[in-house]
Symmetry: C2
Subunit: 401 residues, 2 copies
DNA sequence: TCCAGAGATGAATCCACCC
DNA sequence: GGGGTGGATTCATCTCTGG
């Protein structure tokens, strides 16, 4: 069900204790009127976020939270997606409405983001507060993989206490250890690393502040079963409803914007999500460099980059605006091939000078093999110890280029 | 300098605007007296955390924050390490003392921890608030490596805005992309993944709530230079001072506990930190399974494990207490070798049944190759599609074992 | 029924020891 | 000596029990 209108009013039309999960992504606390333009420039979405002060913002949310609590089943839960500038005020509101005893988790949605160059740390997480209506809330345990460093042999062993009360692993008389029962993995943590919705994701419908479907799926999985009812009072482009629909939950969405409602309706006709290759395969799948290359790059204080065939990293060189790409020769790579790869990548990107580190053991005695072919602007180094000298040279000369 | 006493009183003896960085890790908001015993049972540390209510706790902190602000230089910063049950109250206190305009970051210290079986998400982060005294705060930009998925071709290209205000990559007339100036990597994010101080770390001095030196080093690097003054009004075992000393900053530590002061003094005679192998080498160094194996394990919903030669994971099987290890045959591994490895590992750990997945293409037609040698309790599967049937079989039969 | 204290838990690391 | 692995130790734990 999708309803247009102010959720405070529309919520009042919903029965007491009828909802299993409420997810809210309310407007942010900004002091100016927002207007954000959709991707294809066809639509403009207005956010009437002109709050007098943070207290009036808090009251606005709190009024709606009270209604949310009413419609929530006794086993139900609420997730509030917070604005980073006002998250503490929102948690205060939650404490007042739900009581701090029902605070379950501060979920951190963390993601990597393109940098902006502001002074300070790069803001790359958002906070979601998880409150239950009562201690009897429904909760489905979700398990994750063990850390690769975990000693599995050991955690399957039973333990006993010694005379000082310290625990030890239990051994039978013949020195054998006793087995514990089956384990399902590690309980899900409260820090969720989920990629920010890729600008080009097929999932994108052009709505600002759109959230990834996977994020909502995770929440829905956690506290509902099939057939349960999910409510989103600020449904926006309908991500929550899409996720609910994909997981066979019933859903109710409310939004004040007519455009958002339209968008949600069309989106729900064909609910879909984009598969994140990053999440599915893990970061490791993208690591096409072996440990050795990373070590070398680290040693020479270069910036490693991963997704480029001819370039392994960039040198940090002062006094120049030119990026200097560097490539480390692979074990099974002839110097010629390595050279070609670097040159090609360099040329494509317009870099003026590339540095190739020779790693096989047929060494020459020169400081570096000299600029191989001046027109190519390629330098080959066969002894890393010389690199500082070369860097100094470059810092001196590149400014002239 | 290390001072014993209530920091509210001792702070008053410090000059105005004389400190570059203040880090506070105040007592937590618990409603009962805590007493925590040190590792070797030799000492007991008391925390007088008997706050009437959260308001009195907030006031306790706020009083001290006022003094902190006074002693801070105009370019100085303050980092407050928060109790998760009261972080919102603490941020309110910070807003009141420092003004919300000087809020810089909510730093998430995220880590993996041994779990405990509570209902809900596994709590695995802590929050540190970063406020500056003024907008003119000192800040050293720190850069990290690019994410492996980053397409570096793009990050060096200049961008322009099109007529609609959207950014595009700038192309010169001949279609070549124009280069940006050199980049140093991705600016440090506000989510810090730092391993929890390990139970066996040599860095440990037996003080409860001890923080990793690396965490403090990161903070100190961020907002101070060599020779600057770092202050910790709740210095505890002196981690902040150790980090400051290692980075050649001056330091002042205050703590109310005599024992803590003693501990700090001896610790500072030989300041050290433990190298985290995990941080140094990265998680990837511990991964000994290739992508293909992980994919198969994922497909059959098994729990992957890394640190074990003969075992790649464990099956999730209901109705049994017995862990069922599984191994995937490697490409360059004969069936015999794979079998031996699994058997050996199984036997060592006392598992009653192991499952080996055959992956080379000489297929048989049987459902599974049958229990190879019944006394070994080994099953060989050569068609993954049959696994669900086998799991059902197991769920039925294993209970009998 | 509530609270205090005992007892069980459980995975992540580093360390020590082994070959 | 170096790579592998068994073990120790931890929790501002969590749950259960008994008064």
């Amino acid at each position: 069900m999708i309803i247009q209108g102010d959720c405070l009013i529309k919520l009042k039309e919903i029965d007491d204790e009828s909802i299993d999960l409420i997810y809210l992504d309310p407007p942010f606390y900004t002091q100016k009127k927002q207007s954000l333009i959709s991707r294809d420039n066809s639509k403009e979405y207005f956010f009437d976020d002109a709050w007098e002060n943070v207290e009036s913002y808090k009251k606005y949310i709190q009024d709606r939270l009270v209604e949310c609590k009413r419609v929530l089943k006794n086993t139900g839960s609420l997730f509030l997606h917070c604005d980073r500038t006002a998250s503490h005020h929102l948690r205060l509101a939650l404490d007042e409405v739900f009581d701090s005893i029902n605070f379950q988790s501060e979920i951190i949605w963390s993601y990597k983001r393109w940098s902006n160059s502001k002074k300070g740390l790069l803001n790359s997480h958002q906070t979601i507060y998880f409150y239950s209506k009562s201690p009897e809330f429904k909760f489905n345990k979700i398990f994750e993989s063990y850390s690769p460093t975990t000693n599995i042999d050991q955690i399957f062993q039973k333990r006993v206490r010694d005379e000082n009360g310290k625990t030890k692993y239990k051994k039978s008389d013949d020195g054998e250890s006793e087995l514990m029962e089956q384990k399902m993995g590690v309980p899900l943590s409260d820090v969720w690393e989920i990629p920010y919705l890729n600008p080009k994701a097929t999932e994108r419908v052009g709505y600002p502040t759109q959230k990834p479907v996977i994020l909502l799926e995770k929440i829905i999985h956690l506290v509902t079963d099939k057939g349960d009812i999910v409510l989103d009072p600020f449904c926006g482009s309908g991500t929550t409803l899409v996720a609910a629909s994909l997981l066979e939950r019933k859903y109710i969405g409310i939004d004040i914007s007519k455009d958002a409602i339209e968008l949600t309706k069309t989106r729900l006709k064909n609910p879909m999500k984009s598969e994140s290759a990053l999440l599915k395969n893990g970061k490791e799948a993208y690591m096409n460099q072996d440990q050795k290359v990373l070590e070398i790059l680290n040693e020479i204080d270069a910036i490693p980059v991963q997704r480029n065939k001819g370039i392994d990293g960039f040198l940090k060189i002062k006094n120049t605006m030119r990026p200097v790409p560097i490539k480390i020769q692979r074990e099974k790579e002839t110097l010629e091939i390595a050279k070609d790869l670097l040159l090609k990548a360099s040329k494509k990107n317009g870099f003026q000078l590339g540095i190739l580190v020779k790693t096989n053991n047929t060494q020459t005695n020169s400081l570096f093999k000299a600029i191989d072919t001046p027109k190519d602007n390629l330098m080959i180094i066969d002894n890393l110890k010389n690199l500082p000298k070369i860097k100094a040279l470059l810092e001196h000369n590149l400014a002239l280029l």
